[in-house]
């Protein structure tokens, strides 16, 4: 039975968590003490995970979902914020002070093959955590404990599996062994990082079923990290959608799927291939890819790809460079050569600023560039980019472009979910 305090306190309470990795930069740069910047892998994440709950962290590669999971387990160092396990702060404990908590939180990785030491038989591998934590006195006790764990994950008769090596096992069996090792210390929280992504379609269902069974039998709480919305929909009570180190939408699974709010969530849902032969490949998808996390876009990180972006979303100089590139990609070679010559070095507008100086090409003037920009705007006035442009003026050999100041949206309640998007400001919770 749980005590009253446990009922009220979330098992995991993460507040404003950041994990930044600093870049080393060049040798010369380090000599003169220049900061090479940092990758903001997790950049201000807050959520709560309650006892017995399954929370899905869903995002593309580079969204920071894996780093977030690793930070919670202290496999990566938090650079800020707090992590509370059952009310106790664990984010900044020393390694030795943290050790008792390790037994309470375990992780399962994506690649079961890489998670198992090829030179250890299953008895040794699955029992390893018990030995490390000094919880078994002799070999007989080890066999009993490992046998119990293997039995629970379905690797039975267990005697047949004790002396098997990872290379003797199929992918599904290896992931079962990894799960056995994860539960052997009796953890409360299991972080599962893409536990079925590397398995064949035909065994994914079995491993997910096993995880649900273990959750019921052992009273586990799961943080399920995945890029796959379909398994998340089936498996999770709540879902957090991540993009570039932030949670952009979080709420009950049913609400997220029935009425996705953030434009990123909407496009993710539309892009999943569905085994329905009447559906065709969707066409109106966000352009481009997840940008660099060293210098994320200003304002809302999703704005350069967002089909519904508008003035306040954080338009900046780099978006202008993208605009030129998109236009030129679709042009015939001769037309491209002509327009390219009008504009000078694009590297000069590849900066994260809300004031761009667009240089003219050799022999061209600022007026020529301004004329080109006007042509581009007239060709597609509905392009969201133009809603963020405040002013364009020709000055000698360049054009000065200024942008509306953007704002970084924060998570706000909208219905029974929370969403970080300017489109939902002023929406009240139901």
């Amino acid at each position: 039975m749980r005590t009253k305090r446990e009922e009220d306190t979330p098992l995991l309470d993460v507040r404003d968590l950041t994990t930044h990795f600093s870049l080393r930069g060049s040798f010369g740069g380090r000599l003169i003490g220049r900061d090479a910047g940092s990758v903001k892998a997790v950049d201000g994440v807050s959520f709560q995970l309650h006892h017995g709950e399954v929370l899905g962290l869903v995002g593309e590669s580079g969204s920071g979902k894996t780093t977030l999971g690793r930070t919670i387990l202290r496999l990566a160092d938090a650079t800020g914020g707090s992590i509370r396990l059952d009310g106790e702060e664990i984010a900044h404990l020393s390694e030795s002070a943290f050790r008792p908590y390790r037994r309470r939180m375990q992780i399962v990785f994506q690649d079961p093959h890489a998670s198992l030491n090829p030179a250890m038989d299953l008895l040794t591998a699955v029992g390893h955590p018990l030995v490390i934590h000094g919880l078994v006195k002799d070999k007989a006790a080890l066999r009993v404990a490992v046998g119990d764990a293997l039995e629970r994950v379905g690797l039975a008769p267990v005697e047949r599996f004790f002396d098997k090596y990872p290379s003797d096992l199929s992918g599904g069996q290896k992931q079962r062994a990894v799960l056995a090792r994860a539960i052997i210390l009796g953890p409360e929280l299991l972080v599962a990082d893409e536990p079925v992504s590397m398995l064949d379609m035909s065994v994914r269902a079995k491993i997910l079923e096993l995880m649900l069974k273990l959750k019921d039998e052992l009273d586990l709480t799961y943080l399920y990290i995945t890029h796959d919305l379909a398994t998340a929909k089936f498996f999770c009570d709540r879902i957090a959608i991540m993009y570039l180190g932030r949670i952009v939408e979080i709420g009950p699974t049913a609400s997220i799927f029935a009425d996705p709010k953030h434009p990123y969530t909407v496009s993710l849902l539309r892009a999943i291939p569905d085994p329905d032969p009447d559906r065709t490949v969707p066409r109106d998808l966000p352009r481009g890819e997840v940008p660099d996390a060293v210098q994320p876009p200003l304002g809302c990180s999703f704005h350069p790809r967002c089909p519904r972006a508008f003035g306040r979303c954080g338009w900046e100089s780099r978006d202008l460079a993208d605009l030129f590139e998109r236009r030129w990609t679709a042009m015939a070679e001769a037309d491209y050569e002509h327009e390219r010559a009008t504009v000078g070095d694009l590297a000069r507008i590849e900066a994260a600023t809300t004031a761009a100086t667009v240089p003219a090409g050799r022999g061209r003037t600022g007026e020529d560039v301004l004329e080109l920009l006007a042509t581009i705007r007239d060709a597609d006035a509905a392009e969201p980019f133009w809603s963020g442009v405040r002013e364009m003026t020709a000055n000698g050999d360049h054009v000065d472009v200024t942008f509306t100041d953007g704002e970084d949206p924060s998570l706000r309640a909208a219905g029974d979910v929370e969403v970080a998007c300017h489109l939902y400001e002023g929406a009240t919770s139901a």
Binding site: S61, G154, I272
Partner: protein, 341 residues
């Protein structure tokens, strides 16, 4: 119907191991017509990638290939290796799964294109090479401003698009794509599938799409061939096969998909067989919930129960070949977790 551009007959690929010969592809036949996309699906280890490599002549040493690959009235496998290469090079192209490992990190993008074009079309001028390359890259959404950059300066999705542009710059008539989007995120995957769909519409390119993702097949393929243990067990239009799968393996495979409409988890018991000693009779019978006595005993004969559909399963006959009592349900051994995939 259009005459096929590629016609494969009774193709076999096998290689030796310590356990004996592994028949990775064991008597596969199919046709591919211009502008058509054929999806080739199955679990890992069913031979689908080996089949793709066999078609391209990219099998590792120590592998044997036999059968017929007809391209433009010629049987490629009957030609000497050098002539095989001169046909495949410009006309049959391949797109691989890992774009990162297929570009030379020390070569600029424009040099990759120049090398490919010069090898197969030595008469092109430098200007023609540039125009052709930019056209191919533009079609894949790579800006011309990045033509002189190195592979590491591109993201994974862009590198895969560069690889596709490289495969297409020679204007091949057949493209074999082996899991082209498996390493990519779902949004980029959808972008690339859109590009591949445009390809067959605009250039009449025939596409063989090898994938384990049945969702992709449903959305992107005209026809689908389901492979199990080195053989095609069912083939038909993807609409029909997804609506009404006939082979029990196809039914099980479709049932195991976890999609947004999944409310109940289902899986296929057991694992695909070791191809050095496949089970007798129908190779799927140990995992099949509809197996009959005849299935454990005799290899199924291909039947065409519906127009445009072929299926190799005794449940669809021919009845006259089934010995008396052969249709009784087969008593199967229980499949334990110990035997799962």
């Amino acid at each position: 119907m259009n005459p096929p551009v590629l016609s494969v007959r009774d193709l076999r690929v096998w290689y030796g191991t310590a356990r004996g010969a592994v028949r990775a592809v064991d008597g596969v036949s199919f046709d591919l017509t211009p502008g058509e996309t054929l999806g080739l699906v199955g679990e890992s280890g069913c031979g689908k990638s080996t089949l793709g490599r066999g078609l391209m002549g990219l099998l590792p040493e120590g592998t044997a290939i036999d059968g017929e690959i007809h391209y433009e009235d010629r049987d490629l496998l009957a030609l000497p290796p050098k002539q095989q290469r001169s046909v495949r090079g410009p006309d049959i192209a391949m797109i691989f799964q890992e774009p990162m490992t297929r570009l030379d990190p020390l070569m600029r993008i424009d040099d990759h294109f120049a090398e490919t074009l010069k090898t197969h079309e030595p008469d092109l001028s430098a200007q023609e090479i540039r125009t052709r390359s930019l056209e191919a890259l533009g079609g894949m959404g790579i800006p011309p401003t990045r033509f002189r950059q190195y592979p590491h300066e591109f993201s994974g999705g862009m590198r895969q698009r560069i690889m596709i542009a490289l495969a297409l710059v020679l204007r091949p008539r057949v493209v074999i794509a082996d899991e082209p989007t498996t390493a990519l995120d779902v949004l980029v995957e959808a972008q690339i599938l859109g590009i591949l769909a445009d390809l067959r519409r605009n250039f009449d390119t025939a596409l063989l799409l090898i994938t384990h993702n049945l969702g992709i097949v449903a959305e992107a393929c005209d026809r689908v061939a389901v492979m199990y243990a080195g053989r095609i067990v069912e083939e038909g239009s993807s609409r029909d096969v997804f609506r009404e799968p006939q082979h029990p393996y196809t039914q099980a495979l479709l049932g195991s998909i976890i999609s947004l409409s999944t409310t109940e988890l289902r899986s296929i018991p057991g694992a695909p067989p070791d191809l050095s000693m496949p089970p007798p009779g129908c190779r799927f019978h140990p995992r099949c919930d509809q197996a009959m006595v005849v299935c454990a005993d005799r290899e199924p004969i291909e039947e065409r129960p519906l127009p445009g559909r072929r299926v190799s399963c005794w449940r669809y006959g021919p009845d006259e070949e089934i010995p008396p009592g052969g249709t009784e349900p087969l008593v199967r051994e229980e499949i334990a977790v110990a035997d799962e995939a």
